[in-house]
Every structure is written in structure tokens, then in C-alpha cells.
């Protein structure tokens, strides 16, 4: 076929020739088997969720929060049982829901649909992988970040992701990991991200997430920018917003447009980042709870 004393080009040519040979497959037989199973396999419908993350008038927000508190108190007295305000953060419960599972602490953990929690610093982060997602969700947690995403196998990057990170420092330049500024408060993180270079920035705008006040940004890097030229980028390339492990650092690549909320959780600065892919992350974001 070819002489192995020759170049990579010859090896490539041999591989192409070998791959293009007839491997005697019959896809039509498989197609029939798949279609037989389709009738009994429901499609995973995307649930429509109300947009809860729009910027809210503070008076209206306060009024709604007060109304929710009244409703909770009234409900407790009426039915004699405690209630949980999922996603509002009005009266955060100290423990995750009973049915939630501990998010695995290692990479490459495949997640079934369901609710997961993890301890990040002193905060309990709870997130739900929706039932509309059938396969391929993975996630992990360490001491400073939690992430879940639709991309499997785990060692591939990309895909839809939601990342929750504790932030104490912010890079001055997202493409240069040599200089950081210390950020002791959520306001300082917001200011540092607003001043950060190395990407295009929209924001910040005042909003709320999970019942906590938040500042919302959108960051992007153009497709044409080679993010492997960033200092310390390594093989995977990517710009990073703050120090951390992998995706926990708010890492994203050229062509991505990420949304980041800097959330003030009782004085702790928590960054919630979403990197869009094919999966609608809204249900996952809406399920997010951060509890001191």
C-alpha cells in the first residue's frame, strides 16, 4: 500500500485510501430497527419557562418578594407544613432538597436527569438537569466551582455549560493570565470585569438571579481571534475571566458568547456563567439555588 519510510503525507494518503474502502456495512437494516423503536420512544419536549432573569424594577421586586413571604407564612399557617420557594431565594432553606444527589467531585461524571447539589466554599449550590435532556450530561464540582453541561464525552470541551464559581480575583486581561486584581466584594468583581480587557463586553446591568441581586454581563471573542495566543492558554486555548480550574475560571473560546452574572450572595461574590450550545439552558438556570 505504501512505504513506511516515507512521509506523514504518505501515511495520510494510506489512511484515506483505507478509510474509503468498502467496509461492508448496511445502514438500511439498522434504520428499520430504529424506526421500529421510535413509536415507543417519546421525544423530549422543551418546557417553556417564564423569563425570570430580566432586569426588575426594585420596587416591584420588593413588592413581589414581600408578597411571596406573606404567601409562605399564610401557607405555613394554613397547612401546617414548611414550604420551599424554588429559585426565588426569598427564604433560602439551609439544606438541599431531600431528593437531590451530591454532584460528583471528579470530571467525567455522567448525570441522569435530576437534582444535584455541591458545597462550594460555604455555599450550597443546587441545580437540576431537566428530564427533557436524555443523554450526555456531565458535571463536576470542586471546592471553588460547580459545572454541568451537555457535552460528553467529558474530555471534549465546548457544548452548553452552566458554571458557578466563587470569585476572589479577576484577571486584568482575559488573554493574559499574569495579572489579577483582588476583589473582596461582589461590587469589586463587577468593577473588575467591567474594566477587564481581552474580549468584547456588554454590561453590566443590574438584575437578579436566584433571588439575589446580580450584575449581568455578556462577553465574547470574535471567531477570527486565535485564543491559543493568550498567555498561559495551553493546548485548549481560551480566554479566562478569573483564576480557577478549567471551566471554573469562566473560560471560553473564540466564537463563544457567554453570559455572566455576578451574584451577591450575602456579600460573597459568585459568578454564574452560561456558555450556549445546542441545549436550552434556561430550565437549568431557573433551577439554580445558591444557599449560604
Amino acid at each position: 500500500m505504501t512505504d513506511v519510510n516515507s512521509s506523514d503525507r504518505d501515511v495520510t494518503r494510506a489512511i484515506r485510501s483505507w478509510l474509503s474502502e468498502d467496509w461492508h456495512e448496511d445502514g438500511s437494516r439498522l434504520a428499520g430497527a430504529v424506526l421500529d423503536r421510535v413509536e415507543s420512544t417519546p421525544q423530549g419536549r422543551v418546557t417553556l419557562w417564564p423569563a425570570r432573569r430580566t432586569t426588575m424594577n426594585k420596587i416591584l421586586g420588593f413588592g413581589l418578594a414581600a408578597a411571596a413571604v406573606v404567601a409562605v407564612l399564610f401557607g405555613s399557617q394554613l397547612f401546617g407544613a414548611p414550604t420551599r420557594e424554588v429559585g426565588t431565594g426569598v427564604t433560602p432553606a439551609p439544606e438541599p432538597p431531600v431528593e437531590s444527589r451530591l454532584l460528583p467531585g471528579t470530571d467525567c461524571s455522567e448525570l441522569e436527569a435530576g437534582t444535584y447539589h455541591a458545597l462550594v466554599g460555604t455555599l450550597t449550590v443546587t441545580v437540576t438537569v431537566p428530564t427533557s435532556v436524555s443523554t450526555g450530561w456531565i458535571g463536576s464540582a470542586d471546592e471553588s466551582a460547580v459545572w454541568v453541561g451537555d457535552r460528553g464525552p467529558c474530555w471534549f470541551g465546548g457544548g452548553s455549560k452552566l458554571v458557578v464559581s466563587l470569585v476572589s480575583h479577576v484577571y486584568t486581561d482575559a488573554c493574559n493570565r499574569q495579572h489579577t486584581v483582588e476583589t473582596g466584594t461582589p461590587a469589586a468583581v463587577t468593577a473588575a470585569l467591567a474594566a477587564q480587557t481581552g474580549h468584547q463586553t456588554t454590561g453590566p446591568s443590574d438584575t437578579s438571579l436566584g433571588g439575589y441581586p446580580a450584575s449581568r454581563f455578556e462577553f465574547s471573542v470574535s471567531d477570527s481571534f486565535d485564543d491559543q495566543t493568550c498567555t498561559g492558554a495551553g493546548l485548549s486555548g481560551g480566554v479566562r475571566l478569573f483564576p480557577g480550574n478549567g471551566v471554573g475560571s469562566g473560560e471560553f473560546n473564540s466564537g463563544d458568547r457567554v453570559t455572566v452574572w455576578v451574584v451577591d450572595v450575602n456579600g460573597s461574590a459568585v459568578a454564574v456563567a452560561t456558555i450556549p450550545g445546542d441545549t436550552d439552558l434556561d430550565p437549568v438556570i431557573d433551577s439554580l439555588r445558591i444557599e449560604p
Binding site: L30, R37, Q43
Partner: protein, 182 residues
């Protein structure tokens, strides 16, 4: 893929999905067979991928991106099958990738079996990139979109795979000590 067909299948039209399946099944099976190197595993991966396509279609926001999205599901299914299987038992003598390519002045001819053995020695990650690029003829940016890695990473994987194949082929062609002794 016809985006109208995709849109109809997204809304639960089984006839439209059937047309899609017959359009892609051969290609899916061919790709998974080459990535996994085992027809049985490839058939399982292809069936699983096609069923997942059906289940997850409503979540695909842009029907025009069906091809990349569906190949991504196929690659996932291949990895899932690959993890289940322990039938990977490469038995090659590897040389350093930097070892000189001249084998005792002998011109060794690579045959199909050598290539297959050498290919099986690569990781699934590397095989996937090689198949998508060299079999489907996809440019690196499309491969990157499917595997979800930066283009530079895909290029590195392809380069590494080529060097490993070259080294493995040389090692496979080199006579064993027993052969030398005889």
C-alpha cells in the same frame, strides 16, 4: 439535510424522521464503524445515536445545524460504546514518535491489517478526528464544532495521530527479536 424535514421531525412527524434516518444511516454506520473498528459496536452506537437524535430533536434550536449536531451525538454514542467494550487490546510495539523512519534499509510495505492495527492503537479522541477529517473530508473547523474542541486542539490531535500511526507502522514492520534470531 433538508431543514424542512428536520423541522417536521422536530414537531414529532415520524415519516419525516424516517426519511432522515434512511438518509443518514449508512453514513452514520460507516463513521462509527471506522471510529470503533468493530461492526457490532458500531451498529449499537448508530442505533443509539439515531434514537437520541429523535429524542433530542426538539432541543435543536437551529435546524440548519442538524448535521454537526447529529454527528456530535454519534460521536458521543461511539464513546459510550467504546467505554463499555474492553475489546481494545492493541498489541503493537511502539517506537518513539521521533525515532528515525528508516528500518534497517528495508522498505516495509504497509498493508490493510497493519493500518487497522495501528489505527486501533490510537485513542478514541484521535481516531474520531482522523475519521471525521480524512473519511468525511470535513475541514478542521467543522471537526472542531462536532467534537467541541478548539480548532487548534483538533489540529494537534490530527498531527499527533498521524505521527503515532507512522511510528506504529514502522514498529509493526520491524522484525521481532525472534524473527531476527531465526
Amino acid at each position: 439535510m433538508d431543514t424542512d424535514l428536520v423541522t417536521r421531525a422536530q414537531s414529532g412527524d415520524e415519516e419525516a424522521f424516517a426519511d432522515m434516518v434512511y438518509a443518514v444511516a449508512d453514513r452514520f454506520l460507516a463513521v462509527s464503524h471506522r471510529i470503533l473498528g468493530d461492526l457490532g459496536l458500531a451498529e449499537d452506537a448508530t442505533q443509539q445515536a439515531l434514537l437520541t437524535v429523535w429524542q433530542d430533536l426538539p432541543q435543536l434550536r437551529d435546524p440548519a445545524r442538524f448535521e454537526a449536531w447529529s454527528f456530535r451525538l454519534l460521536v458521543r454514542a461511539c464513546f459510550a460504546e467504546g467505554r463499555k467494550s474492553r475489546r481494545w487490546a492493541p498489541n503493537l510495539r511502539l517506537l518513539s514518535v521521533d525515532e528515525p523512519m528508516v528500518v534497517d534499509g528495508t522498505s516495509a510495505v504497509v498493508d490493510r491489517d497493519q493500518l487497522e492495527r495501528a489505527f486501533r492503537h490510537l485513542s478514541l479522541n484521535h481516531r474520531t478526528v482522523v475519521v471525521l477529517h480524512h473519511y468525511l473530508d470535513l475541514p478542521l473547523d467543522r471537526v472542531a464544532e462536532i467534537v467541541g474542541a478548539p480548532v487548534g486542539t483538533v489540529g494537534s490531535r490530527l498531527h499527533y495521530a498521524t505521527r503515532q500511526l507512522r511510528s506504529a507502522l514502522v514498529a509493526d514492520a520491524r522484525p521481532t527479536p525472534r524473527e531476527v534470531a531465526q
